[in-house]
Amino acid sequence: MNYSNFLYMREEISLIVLMVVLFLYDLFAGKKALNFFQPVACVLFAIHTALLLLPRGVGEAFGGMYQFNEINIFVKSILNIGTLIVFLLSSNWLKSEGTVHKRGEFFFLTLSTLLGMYFMLSAGNFLMYFIGLETASIPMACLIAFDKYKKVSAEAGAKYILSAAFASGLSLYGISLIYGSVGTLYFNDVPAGITGDPLQIMAFGFFVVGLLFKISLVPFHQWAPDSYEGAPTTVTAYLSVVSKASGAFVLLTLLYKVFGGLMDQWQAILFATIALSITVANLFAIRQKNLKRFLAYSSISQAGYIMLGAIGGTALGMTSLVYFLLVYLFSNLAAFAVISIVEHRSGKINISDYNGFYQTNPRLSVVMTFALFSLAGIPPFAGFFSKFFVFAAAVDKEFYVLVFIALINTVISLYYYLLVVKAMFINPNDAPIASFRSDNYTRLALIITTAGILVLGVASNIYEYISSISYGM
């Protein structure tokens, strides 16, 4: 066996080393040294993120089990940035009474899910893909049920793990039928055996459930609002951004590379799920009172927009999808940063609690407004450009009806995003949330995300870079 293959798995190995170091630190460090756990973890993770920027070619290792190319690395760095921001946000929550002794576990579990996503992204075989998917979703259930003594957290965890296991069971059944009809599990060899007979179509239908569940598109979204609401807010941020981004990109690569022969079928499936998830999630989002649940529905409809990029099967589609993921990450994390700091300082989470928020905390409410405008897609912010490119990619392949549905829903979504903005700026309130100063970690996270929202829309070279490394069918 050729051990030099391991050199290609650089980011996975550096992540595992990071996990082991943090684990040992948490286990053996004294009480005083543990006070520095958070900054040390953040700095080490930032170094690990920087390692990804080293240039590397395109190829595969372990006989095709592990594939790497530039767009994979780029998506991995997007996930890394998201995780780093989540780590910064988690500092307040991890310092609080009931969780301070579990601080190390939070980092360990989060990094394990990240490792699973890495493997999922670089998989070249269904076995590898399946193990990555499970490595990403099993520790996620532990993270959701992290607040052990809260009813909602346990309930959310139970709902998540049961639906995740169900979806992965269906997905596995699909993989087994694909294996039966094609005779191989390697992504490189499967396309040659795809003939489009009914067995394969059924197998694909079963298989795709696992990923649609992961990005919570509509027939498989039932778990999302409950899990998002019950989970600790930082975990919700992680779940709605990093987990969803990895699932969306993996679905796109699988559709392009492996199931290219079934294009008509998967376009029909995607058409239905996108139209449904954008519409249904929007209608439900309007009547939400809890801000976390509101953002859960908003993220389901955003998932519909994300997959709109994939439906055409072009290089333009891949570019727009990855760009959308990047913008969505910054906008959604900015919103969650504000929510988590407010929840920590005042314990308030309902939209009506935010009445008069502008009088007491002008800066936070401006950041929140930027984030919501970006999610809604209002021009000066990055969200407008990402939505524009996604629509352009779908129009390019003549999905006029779908784009029309999406456009109407953009207007509807503007209404409920503006409801929150109205609550913060216009609605009067006798006892608004008291003004407070945020700590340095949260401030850093807010600066990063706000800069991302403002800069990404104008900095066209990022889009051009993504465009230069993406590929079509």
Binding site: A141, E155, A156, A158
Partner: protein, 99 residues
């Protein structure tokens, strides 16, 4: 070979049926186990009868068994946690969050 596949298909759909109609978390968990085990049978049968000269299906089965064991362990841990908080594992009691 067909007989094995019929058995696994019946297990699979019994699992889906159970997942939908069962009222307790443990019942749902057992249904999920049925689904996962039917997948294992499928892989073994396909490998043994259709592609006897390779081992991919067997390997996949081994990994699937391991992963499903991990999944069940976590699910049971969470069920215990639910029981501690609510003193019940009936699905109808998991209604803290609505809308």
């Amino acid at each position: 070979m067909e007989y094995y596949l019929v058995v696994s298909a019946i297990m699979m759909f019994a699992g889906i049926y159970g997942f939908i109609v069962r009222r307790s978390l443990l019942g749902i968990l057992i249904s999920i186990e049925l689904i996962l085990n039917s997948v294992d049978i499928n892989f073994m049968v396909f490998n043994r009868y259709l592609y006897p000269d390779q081992m991919e299906g067997f390997f996949f089965t081994l990994f699937a068994i391991g992963v499903s064991a991990a999944e069940t362990a976590i699910a049971i841990a969470i069920c215990i946690n639910v029981y501690r908080n609510l003193h019940s594992i009936q699905v109808k009691n998991l209604d803290e969050m609505k809308n």
